[in-house]
Amino acid sequence: MTDPLVPDSTPPQGQPAPLTGQTPADRAAMPLADPAGAATDQRSQWRDVWAQFRRHRGAMVALMVFLLILLFVLAGPWLWSLDATFVDIRARNKGPSWAHPLGTDQLGRDTLARLMIGGRTSIAVGMTAMIIAVMLGSLIGILAGFYRRLDAPLSRLIELFLALPLLPLLLLMVTLFREPLAKNFGAGPGTFLLIVVAIGATSWMQAARIVRGDVLGLKEREFILAARSIGTPSGRMMRRHVLPNVLSPIMVAATLGIASAIITESALSFLGLGFPPDFPTWGRLLFDAIPQMQNYPMRVVLPGALISLTVLTVNYIGDGLRDALDPRIRGR
């Protein structure tokens, strides 16, 4: 049986050809460079996104800087082999020198090495916690917005989490999970897991609220109805139709999330809930240096600048990505 949808190579008798073969609009709409009719051209969607992203000057510069920061914290310790936790009380509070290009801190530890190692933790915590928070927030936001039945309970959940005092919650989490985690994953990874989960689990509410609002509006859009009419099941509906359309607020939440995660981490270690004391992170370096700000200003400036720079670059990358992911902007 022949497929009635596939026309024979010659149109069937009496089938009217269109107005002038092709409307002028069609022709106008086709870029000249485009190899017409090339169905084989499967240029990936991501290449479009990348192409558009490259156009965003701020985002590109930010990406470069961000990569440099990553290089600094990841490859840096390879090149600069001083131990970030090596205490040398004879070399306390030294200024920049060949042995210590950025000087040493109050215990004679090398500032450069500490910044590099600290950055690893801070960026990893910031990113992971942000991802957890954003994923949790988006999931709950989408579910609350999409299913009318879930809206009220999930909204109450959001309110509950907003109202919960964080400190006791974190203390409880630490008490319950610190030892089992340390046992199963080792002290470092265990604490890392605990911290990112703790930060993630207590900072998803903003994102959820924003996403829920957007989904509520989106749900009334006709293409959702259209998707239902072509038999799209709910799961796929949320994945393919809802999620991509609420990406923009999620991106904003993500950018802000990294900044607060890095800061929160330092606050946590100051409450005894974070990494062990000999574990440098940018937030902690900043915090530790504040009392000595007047004598050794570089000690606050360096970690502070690195945190700001990271957040700033992530923000610009987020801006660029948001523009690039939006096909309406990409078309322009």
Binding site: D3, P4, L5, V6, P7, P12, Q13, G14, Q15, P16, A17, P18, L19, T20, G21, Q22, T23, P24, A25, D26, A28, A29, M30, P31, D34, P35, A36, G37, A38, A39, D41, Q42, R43, Q45, D48, R55, R221, E222, F223, L225, A226, A227, R228, S229, I230, G231, T232, P233, R236, R240, H241, P244, N245, L247, D326, P327, R328, R330, G331, R332
Partner: protein, 617 residues
């Protein structure tokens, strides 16, 4: 304005556009929105600009207001001489912003293409009307309010006093459009620009508005620049016509000349694409339009179904929406959107649903697919009772019935490539392997005559007509037996509309698809349907074969609809200025309300007209 009133035709032009060129900065570099265009408008004259979508009509008008700059455009060349009333024309292209502010709203009024969105949603009608009066005429608030009231009276809005304090969303589409017109008219401009003011409206409201513009033109000696793609409206409104194609003027002339002896092929093609009411008189089966094309002209075949079998049987369908209120969110009233509707659609045939905006056409179509849950009644599709299906079965049943939505742009996911959008229904039902699906999508693209290279585009990268074709391709992907086409062509310009109509009919012919065709355009309905049902206030007031209903309309509402249809013939101007349709009664009834059953009178075999209840006339 004495000189205007006395100005004979052929007097000094009010506006004279000369060699205008407008370009936009885009990703692909500078593109021209308008290439090179020149024409004049004289006082008291209506110049219609026609042309397909994207030909530069809106850009031209926006350039006149110098608003095109705000959209990223740039006037590269040309002059736009405008007589501000002192006899010394100034070149608008070169005026300062301050001068332009004086021109805008004061000397030139503009009605925008999208009436629904061009009012600010958070200010009252009165505020928005008063604004330009306060700015240009230096009126006090009270004076401006009084004048706004007078303006609303002038555009014949019912209960104008009440409207002043209402917000735009509280008005119906037609009223909003009239507010926009009143706003454009507020300072009695010398030139009124109307950019497709009626495209989104149904015929009755359209007729009202056209009449209004006509009256103002005559009474105030106002010049009108009327932009539209609807040739019937052109015929009714224009003194002169400018035809545009891809940024250039291709032809210009008095309306009779353009309609009767067009010179350019493009104009001819445009005219040929216009469905005219009454063209099908005397025939039974729908026939695809005959389009102007190159050498290979073939005679369109009528779509005749031998021995039609009922496919879709709708009986006593009622759909009501709850109006909730009170402390416990109880339903306090109901919108009787579809009330007691029964009809039968035969396999391979088309039944059209026509009626006023808000009469329940879309709801009826959606109820059949159970995209909204009907309150009662029965829907049988080829023997299965659709309303009794479980949600899993319903999903499977939808494979057989597909819908083309009223708004093609809204019903496509803006974030998804066209390929994925068409693939989705097949994915949902697990049809075919990856390559098979790709093949079928390619075939569908061919079928709806879209280049395959469009597959990786996004909806916004398409023109309206192309989007509509994507929606059609998506509906066809599952090879359904029934398609519900909800205003599938209303938003398209004539040439594209003709193509889409032909495509649908062609597919019907080839694949034996049945169609429920929902539309407010009577000429189109006449062209495509085997049967016609006229809806009014949720009920079918008249149903029969197309020939029965069109050649022998019985119900008063059907007649009114027919009367409101503009005729694409400049010698047959029938826009009456005294059209004043009654507003539709409210379909909202309290909870316990028992609607009376519809009773019909059989005029001829299959041609039934409602006698009870009397809701219209």
């Amino acid at each position: 304005m004495l000189d205007d009133a006395a100005a004979p035709v052929g007097a000094a032009p009010l506006v004279s556009i000369d060699g205008l060129r407008v370009s936009f900065q885009t990703r692909e570099g500078r593109v021209a929105g308008v290439n090179e265009i020149s024409f004049d408008i004289r006082p008291g004259e209506c110049v219609c600009v026609v042309g397909e979508s994207g030909s530069g009509k809106s850009v031209t008008s926006l350039s006149l207001m110098r608003l095109v700059e705000y959209g990223g455009g740039q006037i590269e060349r040309g002059a736009m001489l405008f007589d501000r009333g002192d006899g010394r024309p100034v070149d608008l292209a070169r005026q300062s912003d301050a001068t332009m502010r004086d021109v805008r709203g004061n000397r030139i009024g503009m009605i925008f293409q999208e009436p629904m969105t061009s009012l600010n949603p958070v200010f009252t009608i009165g505020d928005q009307l008063a604004e330009s009066l306060i700015v240009h005429r230096g009126m006090t608030r009270a004076q401006a309010r009084a004048r706004a009231l007078a303006l609303l009276r002038e555009v014949r809005i019912p209960e104008p006093e009440r409207r002043l304090d209402q917000y735009p969303h509280e008005l119906s589409g037609g009223m909003r459009q009239r507010v926009v017109i009143a706003m454009a008219m507020a300072c009695e401009p010398r030139l009124l620009i109307c950019d497709e003011p009626t495209t989104a409206l149904d015929v009755t409201i359209q007729a009202e508005i056209l009449a209004l513009i006509n009256r103002l033109k005559r009474e105030k000696r106002m010049a009108v620049l009327f932009i539209t793609h609807d040739m019937a409206v052109v015929a009714q409104m224009a003194d002169r016509v400018v035809v545009m194609l891809r940024g250039d003027k291709v032809e210009e002339g008095p309306v009779e000349q353009i309609f009767e002896s067009p010179r350019e092929d493009y104009t001819k093609a445009l005219l040929a694409a216009v469905p005219r009411l009454g063209e099908m008189e005397g025939t039974d089966a729908p026939v695809p339009l005959r389009l102007m094309r190159g050498a290979s002209a073939a005679e369109p075949r009528p779509i005749v179904v031998e021995d039609p079998q009922p496919l879709l049987e709708v009986r006593d369908l009622c759909t009501r929406f709850a109006v909730k209120g009170g402390l416990l969110r109880r339903t306090v009233a109901q919108v009787h959107a579809v009330e007691d509707v029964s009809f039968t659609l035969n396999g391979g045939e088309t039944l059209s649903l026509v009626g006023e905006s808000g009469c329940g056409k879309s709801t009826c179509g959606r109820s059949i697919l159970r995209l909204v849950e009907p309150t009662s009644g029965s829907v049988r599709l080829g023997g299965t009772d659709v309303l009794a299906l479980s949600s899993g079965q319903l999903r499977r049943a939808r494979q057989d019935m597909q819908m083309i939505f009223q708004d093609p742009f809204a019903s496509l996911d803006p974030q998804m490539r066209l390929f994925d959008q068409i693939e989705e229904p097949m994915l949902n039902y697990g049809i075919g392997s990856r390559t098979e699906r790709a093949d079928r999508i390619a075939a569908l693209f061919d079928r709806v005559e879209l280049p395959r290279s469009f597959m990786r585009r996004y909806p916004h990268e398409m023109s309206g007509g192309q989007r509509q074709r994507i929606a059609i391709a998506r509906a066809l992907a599952l090879r359904p037996r029934l398609i519900i086409a909800d205003e599938a062509v209303s938003a398209l310009d004539v040439s594209v509309q003709a193509q889409v109509l032909n495509l649908l009919m062609e597919l019907q012919q080839d694949m034996g698809i049945s169609m429920l065709f929902i539309s407010h355009d009577m000429a189109v309905v006449e062209r495509v349907s085997h049967h016609v049902a006229v809806m009014y206030l949720g009920r079918i007031v008249e149903i029969g074969t197309r020939r029965q209903v069109f050649e022998n309309p019985q119900h008063s509402y059907t007649r009114q609809l027919m009367a409101a249809v503009p005729v694409a013939d400049p010698r047959q101007k029938k826009i009456s200025e005294d059209l004043n349709f009654k507003p539709i009664p409210s379909p909202i009834h309290p909870l316990g309300y028992q609607p009376p059953r519809s009773t019909y009178r059989e005029v001829a075999p299959g041609h039934r007209v409602m006698v009870e209840p009397v809701t219209h006339g």
